[in-house]
């Protein structure tokens, strides 16, 4: 699992770590039981403070997304599909918010926005998926 932290981004580093790990869990790149890279390795590879990584890991643990086993490491928790689905919805919602803010600044009307949305949705040809519980 490869984390790419941008220290020159205004987004705080611990938030980048949390987002990227949650994204990996939501897409299935990280499966329940998978071992996360150690705090030391993440810190060294990305040239960030170990405390920052430790803090992100402990936040994720508190949220139940990962489980820490003393002396062994951190592992992805047994996230039921409902939790993954909720995380995924939250992430997509925040992306939508950014796009909607842009659309507002570009002075699109609500019907126009809905038009664009349906147009793109039709274009993409998403495979059929059962909606999660």
């Amino acid at each position: 699992m490869f984390l790419k932290i941008d220290t020159s981004s205004p987004t705080p580093v611990y938030q980048q770590i949390i987002s990227q790990i949650k994204y990996a869990i939501a897409t299935g790149a990280l499966q329940p039981g998978d071992r996360l890279p150690t705090v030391r390795d993440v810190a060294a590879e990305n040239r960030i403070n170990r405390n920052t990584v430790a803090r992100a890991y402990s936040d994720l643990e508190r949220e139940g997304a990962i489980v820490g086993r003393a002396g062994v490491g951190s592992f992805v928790a047994d996230n039921p599909p409902a939790v993954r689905s909720r995380t995924a919805r939250l992430m997509v919602s925040s992306e939508f918010d950014k796009t909607l803010a842009k659309a507002y600044h570009l002075r699109l009307s609500r019907p126009e926005i809905e038009d664009v949305f349906h147009e793109r949705l039709d274009m993409i040809n998403l495979p059929e998926r059962k909606s999660k519980e």
């Binding site: 932290i5 220290t7 020159s8 981004s9 205004p10 987004t11 705080p12 580093v13 030391r40 390795d41 810190a43 060294a44 590879e45 990305n46 040239r47 960030i48 403070n49 170990r50 405390n51 920052t52």
Partner: protein, 300 residues
Amino acid sequence: MDDGIVVETKNLGRRFGRHYAVHDLTWQVRRGAIYGLLGLNGAGKTTTFRLLMGLLRPTNGEARMLGLDPQRQGVELKRRVGYVGESPCFYEWMTVYELFAFVAHYRKENWDAAFAKSLAERFALEGSKKLSTLSKGMRAKVSLCIAIAFRPELLILDEPTGGLDPVARREFFEGVLAEYQTPDRTILISSHLINEVSGIVDQIGILHEGNLLMDCSTEEFLSKVKVMRLRFAGDPPPHFTAEGILRYRVDGREGRAVTLNYCEGETENKIKSAGAESVEVMDLNLEDAFVEFISERKSP
């Protein structure tokens, strides 16, 4: 000495002729921090570090490193503090391993020869090469090896990556983080390359013309320094003032302003009460925040 304070200065000052390179510095660094002393070239960072290491005598005030007086307990200080400066001075005729052996002699108690060797291997340094044949990047890595091979409690890095190429700079910091940093050790680093250290430092101090203008956590600094876009009902006014707002200027159809004391909600309210219709707050990275902060202090 366990109040957790690893570096401490009281009214520390150093004058050269009539010019104060460091002026009345009262300052503390706590154990476990990775503290970044930031500032422009000539701000007084290197002078401060030389005072801390006992390489310069203060004009006034005092400093304590691990409770030790750099002026009177310099020998013990150098045994317990690792130091990497910008241009390492070696005996050029020595090989890497000869230098290790030389340094080990002065650090008898804590020098770990096996660790030093593994560090050299990590950095791909050939032990039998003469120091005079090494590139700048390799010399910096040699400096780092001898600074951390005796596992000091405190590591001072004074512009350690000056003149290094991007790969060497990354390898340097990867080495520090992978091989040295633990919760009970403290790192004090000075740099004018802000974004390079922005991921690493959790505490920052901003030195400007010999004065410490800011001393807080990185997070707190970034929460307070913001750039804002202001929109008005009509065209943005040529001048605009509100409490805490600095350097307002017109930018197309918007106003742009800076605040060094952002308080969520309160700042926006003050701006709106002063006549703006809407406020968009922009987060800054450490380098941009530093530039905004220091621009306020620089003489026009």
